[in-house]
């Protein structure tokens, strides 16, 4: 009977080819006959085979490491020796790369693609943002020219004031039940054109309006609708649509159809804030922004909200409609000449309007003092509130 150890001896001897002819044949016959034995032998062979191969691999690895080391060693002295034979100092210090520089170079070679992509994305983002901003500004400034500011007023700040309780009480007394309580988006100034309920304001004030509300000094409110507009000269004519409106009465000013003179003292009334504001100056040029002859330049300080306000001369004649100002110039406001307004009204008359026009022919303000003029005028100047 063979023990396990004896089998291992036998396996070992067979694997090493130490078995003699007959014994070898005998063993091979037994392997073929006995599957269990064959399996055991296979296990043994795999184990010892793996063991030997493992040893060999360790050896080869060692060998390769040795080769690498000798290769590096063979390369290094060559490099060092070269400068020493001819010169005592290295000629070009750049030949030697310091440890940090090598690290940096490795980093760069590893990440240059990523860095490149990041840089180009950043550049693209910056430029598209700049371009986008430019476009946005251009689009926003569409109604006017660059450097020219139209003077309609955005009402965000006003909201709070309008909703304060004391004001609301006041309004409930006078305003009709249908009065709109939602805040308007923009506001400008307008003034009476005829006693029948036609008003004038700037076109840009009512631009894009859903509905318009006219509010006078006495807090009386009327609905109005645009009747006609002249985009080119920034003029719009409104008509009050409320049934209970009875008329303005006789207007105290006349509309001048000719040109006003340079240096004439002029004044305006407007609503750049809640209250009516008086502004005074002189007619400083007979052309407007960029030489536009449809406009005057006046030296009145104006603000958003002044748009559509009447421009009057010393005798109280209407000579223009305030329209805008130049941003980069000191106190340069522009007003549409009244002659264009007259022309517009004439063309309307030719179109046979529903209600007749009676333009004021004669002013009543000549020769009186400025406070007196303003007192008479103030009932004919209104806030135009625009809802979008």
């Amino acid at each position: 009977m063979m023990t396990e150890a004896d089998y291992y001896d036998l396996f070992e001897a067979y694997a090493r080819g130490e078995l003699a002819g007959p014994a070898r044949a005998n063993f091979e016959a037994r392997l073929a006959a006995d599957p269990a034995l064959a399996l055991r032998y296979a296990d043994f062979a795999e184990l010892t085979g793996t063991l030997r191969a493992y040893g060999r691999r360790q050896n080869v690895r060692q060998q390769l490491r040795g080769i690498h080391a000798t290769m590096l060693a063979a390369d290094a002295p060559e490099e060092l020796a070269r400068p020493e034979t001819t010169l005592t100092h290295t000629v070009n210090p750049m030949l030697r790369i310091s440890r940090t520089e090598r690290k940096l170079r490795e980093f760069w070679s590893g990440h240059r693609a990523t860095a490149g992509v990041a840089a180009s994305v950043a550049i693209l983002a910056v430029f598209s943002m700049l371009l986008g901003l430019e476009w946005w500004r251009a689009a926003k400034a569409q109604p006017s020219l660059y450097g020219y500011q139209v003077l309609r007023r955005e009402m965000d700040k006003l909201k709070k004031n309008q909703q304060s309780p004391s004001r609301t009480l006041n309004q409930i007394d006078v305003a009709p039940a249908t009065a709109v309580e939602r805040p308007s988006k923009f506001s400008g100034t307008g003034f009476a054109l005829t006693s029948e309920g036609y008003l004038v304001t700037s076109y840009h004030v009512i631009q894009g309006a859903d509905s318009l509300l006219i509010e006078g000094r006495d807090r009386q409110r009327y609905h109005a609708e645009p009747v006609f507009s002249d985009v080119k000269h920034d003029l719009a004519i409104l008509r009050i649509t409320d049934k209970r409106f009875t008329g303005f009465g006789r207007l105290p000013y006349a509309i001048k159809s000719g040109q006003a003179d340079l240096g004439e003292r002029v004044f305006t009334l407007g609503f750049p804030r809640e209250d009516m504001v008086y502004g005074e100056g002189a007619l400083s040029a007979r052309s407007g922004f960029e030489g536009d002859t449809a406009f005057y330049q006046v030296s009145i300080p104006v603000n958003p909200g002044n748009s559509g306000g009447p421009l009057l001369d010393e005798r109280g004649n209407l000579i223009g409609v305030v329209s805008g100002r130049q941003n980069d110039a000191q106190s340069a406001a522009f007003a549409t000449k009244s002659s264009y307004l007259v022309r517009l009204v004439d063309s309307l008359e030719a179109a046979k309007p529903a209600a007749p026009y009676h333009l004021p022919r004669y002013g009543q303000l000549a020769g009186t003092g400025r406070p007196h003029q303003v007192k008479k005028l103030q009932d004919y100047v209104f806030v135009v509130k625009v809802f979008e």
Binding site: A5, L47, L51, Y54, G55, L64, T70
Partner: protein, 202 residues
Amino acid sequence: MSRGNLSSSSSTPSDDALIAAMRGGDERALAHLYRLHWPMVSHFVLQNSGSEDDAQDVYQEGVMVFYEKVRDGSLELSCQIKTYLYAVCRRLWLKRLTSRSRFGVRLLDDEEHGPYLNTGAEEDLLAAEEQDRRFSTMSEALNHLGEPCRSLLEGFYLLDKSMQDLTVEFGYTNADNAKNQKYKCLVRLKKLFFTHYKEEPI
């Protein structure tokens, strides 16, 4: 093939001569091969965000695969050694990069090494991976075996020492004793090796 043949030929022996010399166990042939293709692989790895050490690891692994195939006689080379080594090292490095990086990896290839898809390197590497797993299990098993079993087996199988030498070295009273001891160690190793090796799914 003899050493004389290698040294008498030109300074860059042909691939066939080199392989024959290696098969014959010429260490200088291996060193020559190693030195010949190192710049190519090191350049490749450095170009693809690897370090000098990475290049060395990858290259030695690649040469090992090649060398073992040569020694086995199972190498079927359908291209130049250079191309084969390039393909093997490329594959190895790609694998390491992928395991390292969270992003997809794209390698910059040197044009001159041409098509490396039909070099047979892929299959060889799969076999080599299996072999690697076997060896790492073996190394694990040997570590678990403990002394003096480990030294005894290593002495016999790895260093090819005779039973007589081992008897003296380990201070056994006679060769039979040593043989018995070796047998016990082998049985233990077998158990350790096969339980671990078979456990792991392929």
